[in-house]
Amino acid sequence: MIFNKALILCILLLLNGSVAASDEEIVLAVNQNIVESHISRSFSRQIFSMKARQWANGSPVVVFVLPDRNAHHLIFAKEILETFPYKLRSAWDRQVYSGTGQAPREVANIDQMMTNIANTPGAIGYLPRSKIDGIKIRMVEVH
């Protein structure tokens, strides 16, 4: 009985988290100094797996992500990169603990994501479409 209640609670919590997030479309967001308006899916995967480290003009890529279990992160991983959060995490871990790469910079929430993208040249992350101001933060389409 207690187990059933706990299960229902878990399901409710899960549903609550995902419903709140899936109302909004998640898009790739970059600092205004990035000129690209489209990037390929493979380049976006290379960027978020921390293998591609520079933009076409040679400037450094700075990657921001939300925590692994954040509902927006889940949507970003599945819909934009077409992978799963745990696959991204293991790709980062393989590099971080073998000296061959670095981890993306993790931010706690959407507000921090906006602040960091707006203020960091070369920054890329992801945001609900409504948060893109087109001035300090631009949107990049994946195709």
């Binding site: 899960l14 290379q46 520079q54 925590p67 293991s90 871990d93 393989r94 603990y97 000296g99």
Partner: protein, 395 residues
Amino acid sequence: MLRIYATWIVFLFSSTCSTALLAVEFNDGKVQIHGFASQGIVSSTDNKFYGDSDNSISFNFREIGINASYRPRPDLQFSAQVIQLDAGNVNENGLLLDYALVDYTVYSNEATQFGVRLGRVKNPFGLYTTTRDVAFTRPSIILPQSIYFDKARSIALSSDGAGIYFNREGSLGAINVDMVVGKANVDRGSEATFIRKDEPGEMESDKASRLMRIIYTTPDDRLRLAFTAANIDLNYQEASHEVDPHLFVHLDPKIISAQYSHEKWELTAEYSQMKSSITRNFAPNFSNVIEGYYVQGSYQLTPSLQAVARYDASFNNKSDRDGKKLSAATGLPAHMFFAKDWMLGLRYDVTPTFMLRGEWHHLDGTGWLSSLDNTNPREMERKWDMLMLMGSWRF
């Protein structure tokens, strides 16, 4: 004992106050510091693994590491990691330099990166070797011993030399090629694996090791296929008048790996063959093919609870799977030349940076147990069970 308490204090501290995975960063993230600390508990019937675990409980299973990386430019990274291990009687004492390297990306564009690494580099060997001491990157408390033998972990661990890498991702999928050439670092456990005990002399790299791994990933990022091939040459330099001065070992492991990943579950299998040739002065030369494989499945029961199951088999001689010929030749029990391991485990992620694991092994054979832990072969039992628990923290 003090160190055990210290590890647990770190665990308690970390599990109560950390919710996000935040590394230590300086200089706008150009400098990153990461680390990990794991404490395992082992209890087994009859045979010893990671210390005196037989019909008792061993706490001699600890992995602590810290690393730093500095990326001053997008195409340049300096990084190093030191680790401290306790693995019963098998490990080297003190701090070990796990890697220390400079990574330079010679060429990169949207789809391709090509670069070189110099220094002490981790060997590309199967799916798990490069981060084998980091519990969070393993599928279970111990790696499948058929391919990632803990008793001789150093043989394929790292090289002092150079590596090159090539990544390319396109509409047909991604290719990742890694090659490493360098001097192998050989530890006591590996020496004891070939000589059967820790002699006063030293086992060391004879010729530079050569390793190569190719990984192909399908465009949907679901299937990874890998092929590893290596050539490793070691020799034993005697200190006085031991068993066999001038002993040479040549190993040529080949591994094929496959991993299919779904949102909730993952299937992994690897198969390896390694020809082991030992050349000796005062005993006949010896050569055989070591074979190992495993099949493993994991399932995410809830976002924080994962179950894993595996069957792992290893044979010291592919054409003598029950060990009878090797037993007749050496006088040692036949069960020392194979091991078949059924494993069931659970992983509970308490927070993103702290996890607990438990797993049960049911074994037939003692092939991957070290003679440093089990000094008397006659005291080993062919059929045995092992329960392991682990807490692991990382940042």
